[in-house]
């Protein structure tokens, strides 16, 4: 119980600093469905509207086998930043509805105070999601937001859909 309470408090400190992700919508109705056997969709985005800080972003989904997907997200900047938040959505393609539906999402926060060098330059996360039903298409959508010197910039990314077959 104590552990749960402490865990909840740690989560709240993050959520208290809420961010209006709707300013940077990444929801799109379409994504390419890659042919079965394409085990990875890897996108590098470089903003068309150049901000001062965000230089680009990477988002990658990969079939790691046994219903496991690998999720890679990275935000690249022109200058060191104070903070970065990335939100990664996992969507599944429902053939009968002909639509993508969100299954889950994760928020990740990076702070320069937590860097060994005190400089935040390349926030990156790589993790796995397990026990997903195979035989279906999945895609990722990413939101990338940075804070520096009182300025905020946001950016969105989206992968193609890959079919989990391994």
């Amino acid at each position: 119980l104590v552990c749960l309470i402490i865990s909840s408090m740690m989560g709240l400190t993050v959520l208290a600093d809420d961010f209006d992700w709707s300013r940077f919508p990444c929801v799109t109705p379409d994504s390419v469905l890659l042919p079965p056997g394409q085990a990875k969709s890897d996108v590098w985005y470089y903003p068309k509207q150049r901000g001062d800080y965000i230089a680009g972003a990477n988002l990658s989904i990969s079939d790691e086998g046994n219903g496991t997907i690998g999720i890679f997200a990275q935000t690249l900047t022109h200058y060191p930043i104070d903070k970065c938040r990335m939100r990664v959505y996992l969507d599944r393609w429902y053939e009968n509805k002909n639509a993508w539906e969100n299954l889950d999402y994760w928020d990740i926060t990076f702070l320069k105070e937590n860097e060994e060098s005190g400089v935040l330059t390349m926030p990156t996360i790589y993790f796995h999601a397990y026990d997903l039903p195979t035989g279906y298409y999945y895609r990722l959508r990413g939101l990338h937001a940075i804070w520096v010197n009182g300025t905020t910039e946001g950016f969105s990314t989206q992968t193609d859909g890959i079919k989990l077959i391994k």
Partner: protein, 268 residues
């Protein structure tokens, strides 16, 4: 002490007991057991009665046989006394473990996750694996070569004051960062030979070809004005399906051009 006076071993004792009890050796016992298992006796008189449990319970209720918990009452109390400090230690340990986890997670990136639904429980964060702990540029090239197995390109020329900061290699990607004044110069090298779909989505501006004699290629470059004072330059090239991308803010375009001209294959 001669052999006859030697005390019997445990095996001998067991053998003797079995001989006394069943009149047969252990091997004979085992054989009989196996035969019984293969040909079980299904006689009705050997079957358990269908209401056996209820009959036992009735006997307990009738004769007032104390329950297991009642007979072990003293032991339970003693265990509780022992468990109290153990539970306290477990809670303190758990709390320390949580903080330790937080510290470990924050070591390099300081991420925190918010997991929304039940499948979120099936997520494992392994962010530390992304950071290759090298301090020297040379080691970074070596690590990229070892982990991605691609032809690695190095920066043979660097602008004055441009210093290697770090490298992240993960999931077929590598990105080296250099600090140049206040700015960051990124150099990505990506293995695209695995089954995947690589998309580079950008807005090609007016481009310029810069010849590179080391790679025997004309390298496509372009630039973007990112604010009133800064210009981002970038160069993208593809060699045997691998993608290489150098980009960053430079005050002096000539420095960027010299870096592009100095790109060469890394050799150990």
């Amino acid at each position: 002490v001669n052999g006859k006076d030697k005390p019997p071993s445990e095996d001998d004792l067991i053998k003797n007991i079995m001989q006394d009890a069943f009149g047969m050796s252990s091997r004979e016992c085992l054989k009989e057991y196996e035969e019984a298992e293969e040909h079980p006796d299904l006689s009705p008189e050997l079957q358990a009665p269908s209401n056996g449990y209820q009959r036992i319970k009735d006997i307990i209720d009738l004769e007032g046989i104390p329950s297991y918990a009642e007979t072990k009452g003293n032991k339970i109390v003693r265990i509780k006394k022992i468990m109290r400090p153990l539970v306290a230690v477990a809670i303190i340990g758990s709390v320390m473990w949580i903080f330790a986890m937080g510290a470990a997670g924050q070591k390099f990136y300081g991420y925190r996750s918010r997991i929304r639904s039940d499948i979120g429980n099936n997520v494992v964060w392994n962010n530390d694996s992304a950071l290759v702990k090298v301090t020297a540029e040379e080691e970074a090239y070596e690590a990229i070569y070892e982990q991605l197995g691609i032809a690695v390109i190095q920066l043979s020329y660097k602008a004055d004051g441009m210093q290697f900061e770090k490298v992240i290699i993960e999931n077929g990607h590598s990105n080296m960062q250099f600090l140049y004044g206040d700015a960051i110069i990124n150099f990505s090298q990506v293995n695209s030979n695995v089954a995947k779909s690589d998309n580079i989505i950008s807005d090609p501006n007016e481009s310029q070809e810069i010849p590179n004699e080391w790679l025997q290629k004309d390298i496509n470059t372009n630039h973007h004005i990112i604010d009133s004072n800064s210009v981002e330059y970038n160069a993208i090239l593809e060699i045997d399906g691998e993608i290489y991308h150098l980009y960053g803010v430079f005050d002096d375009e000539n420095e960027f051009i010299k870096i592009v001209q100095g790109l060469s294959f890394y050799k150990k």
